[in-house]
């Protein structure tokens, strides 16, 4: 509860964005509440007139007309209330979705590795949607649940003090009781929300890994797991709903009790002629209306709990630390040389890079080799500004500190092919144009040619318009790799960072692609991470990464001649005849 109290004011602050709609909503609710009261008066007058004053209906025409006018007014108000209720939340929803997404991008891919994409999507869709009732129902209802009952009390007291007292006592029980139940409901709602995120995350994981599951003959077992998860979700949700339903049942019981009490007291007095029909009937018409806003509050209190559970997750995403991005914008460089000095980095556990010094000369190919898990990809992430070194400095062309650069400007100058390139759902052309939507068909073909992808693209019936599935479904491993390369070439960057660029390629294609890289490198700086010596052999410089530092640096030939780790690596290849 303590935490909820911190979330409420924050939600209210978000709500300021649509203050106008909120106030309109409250205003419409108030007018509509008063119209209900006036309507009850008219109806009581009519029925009393006919039944007890024995007037012909025609004599009551003014009351009938007023009643009809009130009905029309209420219809208009109901329509207006729905629309403003929607408007109250629309701006907030848009704004939150945009801000969360921007914040995710600002944090970058390294923290994103700790998030589950389906969980984020569920937070942005179902979670943000879950805030709507908070703004459109709960907040306006809070104002109504004071104003309308008070107006009714003001009318009832002069008519009948006993009934007024009964209502006065029963009314405040509602909020008191709700707070009491609220403690439990909140924890349940939080659990339910967590379960929903887990459910989404699990199902996306299963859908993406369905082929792997089938390969292991485990896909059918997921049916039982899906049943268990859904059942689990049902149980938690029902636990929350049971509390909510019980709350409203108890409230309704109180309300019924109060109304029955009012009715019975009237009945007793009516029999003995201590009171007339009109006030009794009017109060009885008003008594249920007295409880309507209060009952609404209990319904929407549940909406508040749901909203708070979702908001907690939304705010956690919004509050996540974002490294100071740097703001220096370099002019577009044609030559980029990089230097790392004493660079250290860890993901929170052991040091991955530990005081690393390295030099990536402009216009040259530098190969990084090292055991799996040595930190090659991590070093690339630092150069890409996906993460900042915890110690040490990375400088560009000897002067500019990478940490101070605006990331977008830096990314505009480079291209990167990651270890597991991600192709997006769309056509091959869409994927190639990712970085340059305006690229011409001729440029597309040239980039594909450089990446040795043109032949197979043109061999497909649809060519560049061939659809690519999620994660490159429909393409072979090496084809995915070459499309990713072509995408990088198309960008024509000053710095090219290739992480295992020739993975999944046969030696002949690899040699072709290395030729292309050498061709490109006449104008550019290239950093290639590689396990294959064929790649290192073509590089101007080889860096051997070991224990978080550069253990050796030099040309392929020079390092082979030495006695360091590179030679050991080469021997590992040398023991078996290989196609190099």
């Amino acid at each position: 509860m303590a935490e909820a109290e911190r979330i409420d004011p924050r939600l209210m602050r978000e709500g300021r964005r649509s203050r106008g709609a909120l106030y309109t909503s409250i205003g419409l609710g108030l007018v509509s509440g008063w119209a209900v009261i006036a309507q009850a008066v008219c109806l009581a007058q009519i029925i009393n007139g006919i039944s007890f004053r024995h007037l012909p209906p025609a004599a009551l025409a003014p009351w009938f007309y007023t009643l009809a006018a009130l009905f029309l007014a209420r219809a208009g108000l109901a329509y207006g209330a729905e629309i403003t209720a929607f408007r109250a939340a629309a701006a907030i929803k848009t704004d939150l979705r945009r801000r969360v997404l921007e914040r995710l991008f600002a944090r970058g891919p390294v923290p994103a590795a700790d998030e589950a994409s389906a969980g984020i999507a569920a937070t942005l869709l179902e979670g943000v949607e879950g805030l709507e009732p908070y703004f459109s129902r709960y907040m306006p209802q809070m104002a109504l649940c004071v104003a309308v009952p008070l107006a009714i009390l003001a009318l009832v007291f002069p008519l009948d003090v006993y009934s007024g007292l009964i209502l006065l006592v029963a009314g405040p029980l509602v909020p008191v009781f709700m707070v009491f139940v609220g403690y439990k409901a909140e924890a349940i709602n939080q659990r339910q929300w967590d379960k929903l995120l887990r459910l989404s995350t699990h199902f996306l994981d299963v859908l993406q890994g369905l082929t792997t599951l089938k390969l292991f003959g485990r896909a059918r077992e997921e049916i039982a797991i899906a049943a268990r998860i859904s059942d689990d979700y049902r149980r938690t949700t029902m636990a929350g709903l049971r509390v909510a339903f019980l709350t409203s049942a108890v409230l309704e019981f109180f309300a019924s009790l109060a109304i029955a009490l009012v009715a019975v007291l009237f009945g007793a007095r009516l029999i003995h002629g201590h009171i007339t029909f009109y006030p009794a009937f009017l109060v009885l018409l008003l008594a249920p209306e007295y409880f309507v806003p209060l009952r609404g509050l209990s319904v929407h209190y549940h909406a508040r709990m749901t909203a708070i559970a979702a908001a907690r997750r939304i705010f956690a995403l919004l509050d996540a630390d974002v490294p100071a991005p740097g703001s220096v914008i370099l002019p577009k460089l044609s030559q980029i040389g990089l230097r790392c000095a004493g660079v250290s980095f860890s993901y929170g556990g052991a040091m991955v890079l530990d005081g690393l010094d390295a030099e990536f000369p402009a216009g040259k190919i530098t190969a990084i080799v090292g055991a799996s898990g040595a930190g090659k990809t991590t070093l690339a992430r630092l150069l890409l500004k996906f993460a900042s070194p915890q110690a040490g400095r990375i400088t560009i062309n000897g002067t500019d500190d990478l940490a101070a650069l605006a990331p977008e400007a830096w990314w505009a100058m480079l291209a990167w092919v990651p270890q597991n390139p991600r192709l997006f759902h769309g056509t091959i052309a869409d994927n190639l144009r990712l970085g340059r939507p305006e690229a011409t068909d001729a440029e597309l073909r040239e980039a594909a040619r450089l990446a040795r992808a043109l032949d197979f693209i043109e061999a497909t019936p649809q060519g560049f318009a061939t659809p690519v599935g999620d994660l490159g479904a429909g393409l072979s491993g090496g084809q995915i790799q070459r499309i990713a390369l072509a995408r990088a070439y198309l960008k024509d960057p000053a710095l090219l960072i290739l992480d295992e660029a020739t993975a999944n390629l046969d030696p002949a294609s690899e040699a072709d692609i290395l030729d292309a890289i050498s061709e490109i490198a006449r104008r550019k700086t290239v950093i290639v991470i590689a396990h294959r010596l064929a790649v290192a052999a073509r590089a101007d410089q080889v860096l051997v990464l070991q224990d978080g530092r550069i253990a050796e640096a030099g040309t392929h030939a020079a390092l082979l001649a030495g006695h360091g780790p590179y030679r050991a690596l080469a021997q590992a290849y040398g023991e078996v005849p290989c196609a190099l």
Partner: protein, 557 residues
């Protein structure tokens, strides 16, 4: 409409729950109706008695109507509580059933028939669309049927007093309960469909944003994605705004009909009271009864605007369910095998009509216990051999047999029993290393897991992690290095002692030293098994007894 009938078919096992919810819902409406009619009559009758003097006061039975009011008040509270519990319980049971049913329909379709779908779109179907389908019971089925039941009983009750009042009530209920919902349903159809579609599209953008963030940022494509997401959000909100308008209009219309019906009943009954055809106390009875009767139909206009969403969701769900599987389901159980030789005779495979053949007239025999290597340039059709053998894709011509039986007598579940595969892109699940290993063999002991990790050269790394086997690997293995993720996949395969082992580029992403150590430790485990190894690298090929080369779908050596 056909979709709704199919939906009802899926709900059949929960008939008991569904009918229970319906009965309780009708009971709640009727309890409220009689509570209000009785209260109105009671007050008026008491007032008449009060005016009539002592004799009447003593004759007036005060207690049975008072008890009736209490009874109906309690009944209403109790049955509404029970109704909500039962209908929601039913809803969530239906939800679980639908979800499991949908997954079970989806599973045989993967991977071939689902290739054109984004996994985030499938997720939207599995989670959001199924949720929407479920609204059918709570928002359409229960309110509609209980409204019909209650309408019949309530108008019948009114007819006891005044046929005219009963007819007015019936007309009002039909307008609110049938005409208005029909109109709101029609007006909301397109917007409801848009809500479902835009939600799925947005989910795709959000999932891409997280999983493809590195590429999106470095290619400067993040602003474009943000803009697309913003436009999608705008379209979603526009559709929702449209629905809000319809729901407002529906509410206004149903309120208006309710109130004018009330007015008309009062006028009609008032005339009869004035003419002496109806008792004085019957007027408040009919007036309050009319107001209460409309509670039965009040939710219907709003309910029917969901129909568009429900129909679209149903269509999206059944569109998947109706996809033909790439490989027809087995007519009879797959044969149980003792021998495991694979013989391909002039086999050709084409992924889709109109595409080039990925395998062209392959004839090859892989003897039981043999170790066979496959090489060939990228795109040659090497991985396609796996799709063929695992029955993921159907071959069109030629004859294939496994263990002496036609390959077509197996499905992928049957093949997976005999074959373990390390595929080129193995999926790591967003859980611990332990659970990823258990996937291969649910009964594996801790010792077996460590042994598998030793062979995969990953034991040292796992041991160095503070949480050991319980280290989380991240979504698709994002918290591991590329080679580490590959080695988890290798360890997974090592754990599974099937007669066949297929390795597709097993050591891609590993450095030469690790590769060598892995192959050295793997070699003893290959004894007596049939091994098929697809690779571009020389080291694994050295372990093979025969090596075939593929090029453009043909066997060249």
């Amino acid at each position: 409409m056909r979709a709704l009938i199919r939906l009802a078919g899926l709900f059949r096992p929960f008939r008991g729950w569904m009918l229970g919810g319906l009965a309780l819902s009708s009971l709640t409406i009727l309890a409220n109706f009689w509570l209000m009619t009785l209260s109105g009559w009671f007050l008026a009758a008491a007032a008449i008695t009060g005016l009539a003097g002592y004799a009447a006061q003593n004759a007036f039975n005060f207690f049975s109507p008072a008890a009736g009011v209490r009874f109906f008040a309690t009944l209403r509270v109790g049955s509404r509580y029970a109704e909500r519990l039962v209908t929601h319980e039913a809803t969530f049971r239906l939800l679980a059933r639908l979800r499991v049913w949908f997954y079970a329909t989806l599973e045989p379709l993967a991977p071939a028939a689902l290739q054109g779908f984004r996994s985030s779109d499938l997720l939207s179907r599995l989670v959001a669309d199924i949720d929407t389908l479920n609204l059918f019971y709570l928002r359409v089925y229960v309110p509609v049927l209980s409204a019909i039941i209650a309408t019949l009983i309530m108008t019948g009750f009114f007819a006891l007093f005044s046929v005219q009042a009963a007819l007015i009530l019936l007309a009002g209920l039909v307008v609110t309960g049938a005409l208005t919902p029909y109109l709101t349903g029609r007006a909301g159809r397109a917007a409801g469909r848009d809500v479902v579609r835009e939600t799925a599209a947005l989910r795709g953008e959000y999932v891409d944003a997280v999983l493809g963030m590195g590429e999106l940022l470095t290619y400067g494509a993040a602003p474009a994605l943000l803009a697309r997401a913003a436009r999608g959000n705008t379209r979603l909100l526009a559709a929702q705004a449209h629905l809000a308008k319809i729901s407002g209009a529906g509410m206004a219309a149903s309120g208006l009909t309710t109130n004018f019906a009330l007015l008309a009943v009062t006028l009609a009954a008032g005339g009869k009271v004035a003419a002496g055809h109806l008792g004085t106390a019957d007027l408040p009875l009919l007036a309050l009864g009319t107001a209460a009767a409309f509670e039965a139909v009040a939710p219907l206009p709003a309910a029917f605007q969901y129909l568009g969403q429900i129909l679209e969701a149903a269509q999206r769900i059944f569109a998947i369910a109706d996809l033909p599987p790439a490989v027809p389901p087995l007519a009879s159980p797959a044969p149980v095998l003792e021998h495991f030789a694979l013989v391909l005779d002039d086999v050709s495979l084409r992924y889709a009509p109109g595409m080039a053949q990925a395998l062209r007239g392959i004839s090859l025999t892989i003897p039981e216990g043999g170790r066979t290597g496959i090489t060939g340039p990228t795109g040659a059709g090497k991985s396609t051999l796996i799709n063929l053998l695992l029955r993921f894709h159907e071959y069109q011509t030629g004859h294939a047999s496994f263990g002496g039986h036609d390959l077509r007598t197996y499905d992928s579940a049957a093949m997976a029993r005999y074959v373990t595969i390390i595929s080129q892109r193995s999926h790591l699940f967003h859980t611990t290393i332990r659970d990823n290993l258990l996937l291969a063999d649910g009964a594996a002991t801790e010792a077996q897991m460590w042994q598998a990790l030793e062979v995969a050269q990953l034991a040292g790394f796992v041991r160095a992690q503070p949480r050991g086997l319980d280290t989380m690997v991240g979504e698709t293995g994002a918290r591991l290095s590329g080679g580490q993720a590959r080695r988890v996949a290798l360890a997974r395969a090592v754990l599974r002692p099937t007669p066949w082992l297929i390795l597709d580029e097993p050591t891609e992403g590993l450095d030469a030293t690790t590769e060598q150590d892995f192959l050295r430790d793997l070699a003893p485990l290959l004894e007596g098994r049939t091994v098929l190894c697809i690779t571009h690298r020389a080291a694994p090929l050295a372990l093979m007894q025969q090596v075939y080369a593929l090029n453009e779908g043909r066997l060249v050596a």
